[in-house]
Amino acid sequence: MSDNVKQKELQDNKLSGAGEYRYGFHTDIAEDKPPKGLNEDTVRLISFKKKEPEWMLEWRLKAFRHWLKMQEPTWPNFEYGPIDYQDIYYYSAPKQKKEKPASLEEVDEELLKTFDRLGIALSEQKRLTGVAVDAVFDSISVGTTHQGELAKYGIIFCSMSEAVINHPDLVKKYIGSVVPYTDNFFAALNSAVFSDGSFCYIPKNVRCPMDLSTYFRINAEDTGQFERTLIIAEDSSYVSYLEGCTAPMRDTNQLHAAVVELVALDNAEIKYSTVQNWYSGDKNGLGGIYNFVTKRGKCAGLNSKISWTQVEAGSAITWKYPSVILQGENSVGKFYSVALTNNHMTADTGTKMIHIGKNTKSTIVSKGISSDFAHNSYRGLVKIMPSADGARNFSQCDSMLVGNHCSANTFPYIEVKNNTAVVEHEASTSKINAEQMFYLRSRGLDLEEAVSLIINGFCKDVFKELPLEFSVEAVKLLEMKLEGSVG
C-alpha cells in the first residue's frame, strides 16, 4: 500500500517541480462517499452517519432552510468561479476496517502514514509530548492523542462528533452562540452540513498543560470540507490551540467553509494560532482551495482574553475575518496576521473587533505580502458601541509588494459611537528597500537570503506571537513561497 503513496508522490513531484508544495500528494484510500448534491436528505444522512441526537438534526435543518433563503455575498474584492453547490460531496470518510477504532493503534495504517508524511505523528511512540492532536481527514476525525492525560485535568478534547454524543449539554449550550447559523451564507451552509472538527472544554481554574491542536486534511476529490470547532474556556482557565491544514494538488477548486467559535468566560484566556497552507493552485491560478471561513471569539466574561494569530500562506482564495466580540468588562482581543500571496492567489482577510464592554482593549497587527499576480486585501472593522466606555484600539496594517502585477489594498472600517474611546489606525504600503538589499548583499548574503531576512523582519511582530514550533514552520513556509519571486 505504501508503494502507492510513494508512486503518487513521485508523480506529483514531476508535475509540480519538486518542493513546490510538499503536501500536494493524494492518499489512495477507499472512501465512504454518499452521492453529490445538497438537499434535506443530505443533511439527514450526515446527521444519521454521525448518529446524532434529534436536536442536532433539527438545528442542522433549521440552518439548511435558512441557507436556502440566503444569497451568496458579492461584496468581496475578488471574483471566484460560480460554486455549484449540487456538485460537491458533502460527506467523505475514509473506510476503516473497524467502524469505530477504540484507540489510535487501531486506526488504519494508511491514514497514520498519511499524517506521518504531513509531519503529524499520531502513534504513541513518535508523537510529541507537548502537543495533543486531533487529526481530521476529509469529513471525519481519525483520532485524538493524549486524551487520557488531558482527562486527568478535566479537559475535554475530542472530535465534534464525539462531543455531540458524549457532551450534548455543553454543545447544545454553546454551539451557534458566537456564530449563529443566520450569520452569513457560508456559516449557514456549514451549520447545515458540518461534518467534524474539534471540541475543547477547559474547566474552571485549569491551565491546559499542553498545546491542543487540530490538523485538517482534505483528501478526496470534489468534496467540500465543512468542519466546526468549538472551544470553551471556563473561568480562569487558559488554553493555547493550534491549527494546521493541507490538501492535495488538483485542477479544480475545492470549498472549505469552516466555522470556529471560541467562548472565554471570566478571566479566561484563549490563544488560537493557525498556519494555513491549503493548496493554492498552480502557477496559472488553476485549482486550489477556496478558504471561506467564519471564525469568531466571544470574550463573554470579565478580564477575558482572546488572541488570533494566523499565517495565511495557502488557498487560492482566503476569505476570512477572525473576530472578537469584547463583551465582558476589561476584556482584551488581539489579532496578529501574516498573509502571503503569490502566483494568482487572493487573500481578503482581516478582523472585526466589536467593543461592547467597558474598558475593552483590542490590538490588530496585520502584515500582507503580495507577489506575482496576487491580490492581498486587509479588511477590518473596529466598532465601539455606545456602552464601551474607555475602549481602546490600536491597529497597524502593513503591506509589501514584490513585483508589479500584484496589488495590496486596505479597507479599514472604524465606527465609533462612544466619545471616551481612543482608536488609532495606521497602515503603510511599501516595497523591499533597495538600500537594505544593497546593505545585506554587500555583506555577502545572496539575493534570496537577503529577501528572506527582510521579510522575516517585516513579519516579526506576528511570528513572535506564534508557539515556537509553529514559528519555525511559518518562517520556512514563507521562504519557500517567496523562492524565485524576487529578482
Binding site: 508589479n404 489594498n409 481612543v422 482608536v423
Partner: protein
C-alpha cells in the same frame, strides 16, 4: 398635460421646468440634459445598502416634496456683506444664477474670464462639453446626473495660460429667498490653462433658517504646469441638505492645493475626486469639519493616481460636539503604472460631544510596487493631563477645553496659504469658538 414621469425625488413643477430649460438651450446641451435625466431616473437615490452610502441615510431626503427656486433674489444681505471681502474678485450666484450686480466682473485682471455657464455653453465650448461628458469613478452619480440634468445656470471661469491671478477668486453660492424644501443646483466650471496660477474659493452659504436641498457640482481642470489653490467652504443654513460633487483633473507637473471646510448644514455629503492625468504632479487634499447639534457630515475623497512620480498628501480633521456625526471615506488608488508615488493620508477626530459618532474608512488600493503609501486614522479626546495643566495655571476648565480644541483646529487652518481664505475660515469658526477670554 404630459404624463408625469416617476422621478427619484418628488419635485413640484418639474415637467414645466425641464421644458423651459430645454427650450432655452442648444441642441447639444438639450441632448446632454436628456441623457443625464434618464440616467438619474434609472439609478435613483442611493439606498443604505449601497456601500458608498452606508453611513449616510437619505431616507429623510427622499421623503420630502420639493419645490424649484422661482425667485433669485438676495434677501438677507447683512451677513453676506460681512462675509465677502473687498480685495477679492467676488462672483455671486443666487440660487444657481449668476448675479452680475453683486459680482466684481467689470475690472477683471488680464487673463481671467468669467461668464455665466449657459453663455459659455451657448458658444459650444468644446472643452466644457468634453469634460462634463466624462464620468468619474467616484460615486454620487445619482446627484451628479441630477445636477447635470437640472442646473439652471452656473459660472464659467477661465484662466489663460501663463496668467498669474493675484487676488482671490471667490465664487459665492447663496441660497436665499426660497420656500421651505426648495432644491437648488449650484454649478461651476473652472479651467486653468498651462502654467497659470490662481487661488479660488468656492463658498456655499445660506443664512435663512429654512430647509432646502443643494445639489452642487464643480469641475476644475488644471492644465500642465498650472498651480491652483482651491478651497470649498460649506456653511449652509442649519436645516439644509448639501450634496456636493467636485471633480478635479490634474495635468502633467501641475500642483493642486485643496481644502474643504464644513461647518453648516444638517446633512452634508462632499464627494471630491482628484484624477491625476500626467506625471510629476503634487496634490494636497486637506479638510476640516467642525460640527455640533445633530449635524451629519460625510466626506468621500478619491485620489486616483494614473501616472508615475506623483505626490499626494491628505489630512482631514474633525471636531465633533454634541451628537454630531462624521463620516470619512478617503481612497487613494495607485495604478500599476504609477511608480514612485508618495502618498500620505491622515484622518483625525476629536470627540467632544458625548453622543458624537464617527465612521471612518481610510482606504488604500495599490497596484504599483515601487511606492510609499501610508494612511492613518485616530479618534480620541482631549488629554486629561493637558486640561489639568491649564487648570493649574488658573484657566477655567471650559476655557481650557476651548483653547485645546482651537489648537487642534488651528494646526490644519494654518496649512491654508491664502490669507483671505484663512481669515474667512477663522471668522466662520468664531461662531463655534467665541473669543477666548481669560
Amino acid at each position: 398635460m404630459m404624463t408625469q414621469q416617476q422621478t427619484p425625488l418628488d419635485i413640484e413643477g418639474l415637467q414645466e421646468y425641464r421644458s423651459k430649460l430645454e427650450n432655452n438651450c442648444g441642441a447639444w446641451l438639450k441632448a446632454f440634459r436628456h441623457l443625464n435625466f434618464d440616467q438619474w431616473v434609472q439609478v435613483g437615490i442611493p439606498k443604505p445598502k449601497d456601500e458608498e452610502w452606508k453611513y449616510t441615510p437619505l431616507a429623510d431626503v427622499v421623503m420630502r416634496r420639493y419645490q424649484l427656486a422661482l425667485r433669485h433674489q438676495l434677501i438677507e444681505d447683512k451677513q453676506f456683506k460681512n462675509y465677502r471681502s473687498e480685495g477679492d474678485i467676488n462672483i455671486v450666484l443666487v440660487n444657481g444664477v449668476l448675479w452680475a450686480e453683486l459680482s466684481d466682473l467689470k475690472h477683471l485682471p488680464h487673463g481671467l474670464v468669467v461668464s455665466s455657464l449657459n453663455e459659455a455653453l451657448a458658444h459650444n465650448n468644446a472643452e466644457i462639453q468634453e469634460t462634463i461628458s466624462k464620468i468619474t469613478p467616484n460615486d454620487a452619480k445619482a446627484f451628479l446626473w441630477m445636477n447635470q440634468a437640472l442646473f439652471l445656470d452656473g459660472v464659467y471661469i477661465q484662466v489663460a495660460s501663463n496668467a498669474v491671478i493675484e487676488p482671490l477668486v471667490h465664487i459665492i453660492h447663496v441660497t436665499s429667498g426660497i420656500e421651505a424644501n426648495t432644491v437648488v443646483f449650484p454649478r461651476a466650471f473652472i479651467s486653468v490653462a498651462e502654467a497659470a496660477r490662481v487661488n479660488i474659493l468656492e463658498s456655499h452659504l445660506g443664512f435663512e433658517p429654512v430647509s432646502y436641498l443643494s445639489v452642487a457640482l464643480t469641475d476644475v481642470r488644471v492644465a500642465e504646469n498650472a498651480d491652483v489653490g482651491y478651497c470649498k467652504v460649506q456653511s449652509e443654513s442649519h436645516q439644509a441638505v448639501h450634496i456636493g460633487t467636485t471633480r478635479i483633473w490634474q495635468g502633467k507637473a501641475s500642483s493642486l492645493d485643496s481644502f474643504s471646510f464644513n461647518n453648516g448644514g444638517a446633512l452634508i455629503r462632499n464627494n471630491l475626486s482628484v484624477l491625476i492625468k500626467g506625471e510629476r504632479t503634487n496634490t494636497v487634499m486637506n479638510g476640516l469639519y467642525a460640527i455640533d447639534g445633530n449635524q451629519h457630515v460625510d466626506n468621500h475623497t478619491l485620489l486616483d493616481i494614473q501616472h508615475p512620480n506623483c505626490t499626494g498628501y491628505q489630512l482631514y480633521k474633525g471636531l465633533l460636539n454634541d451628537s454630531s456625526r462624521a463620516v470619512f471615506n478617503g481612497k487613494i488608488y495607485v495604478h500599476a503604472i504609477a511608480q514612485n508615488t508618495d502618498a500620505y493620508q491622515l484622518n483625525k477626530h476629536l470627540l467632544l460631544g458625548s453622543q458624537a459618532h464617527v465612521d471612518t474608512k481610510p482606504q488604500l488600493e495599490i497596484f504599483a510596487d515601487d511606492v510609499k503609501c501610508t494612511h492613518g486614522a485616530t479618534i480620541g479626546q482631549l488629554s486629561e493631563e493637558e486640561i489639568f495643566y491649564l487648570q493649574s495655571r488658573c484657566i477655567p476648565k471650559h476655557t481650557a477645553i476651548r483653547l485645546l480644541s482651537r489648537g487642534f483646529i488651528d494646526d490644519i487652518i494654518s496649512t491654508v496659504k491664502n490669507n483671505s481664505i484663512r481669515g474667512k475660515l477663522s471668522r466662520l469658526l468664531l461662531k463655534k469658538f467665541p473669543e477666548v477670554k481669560l
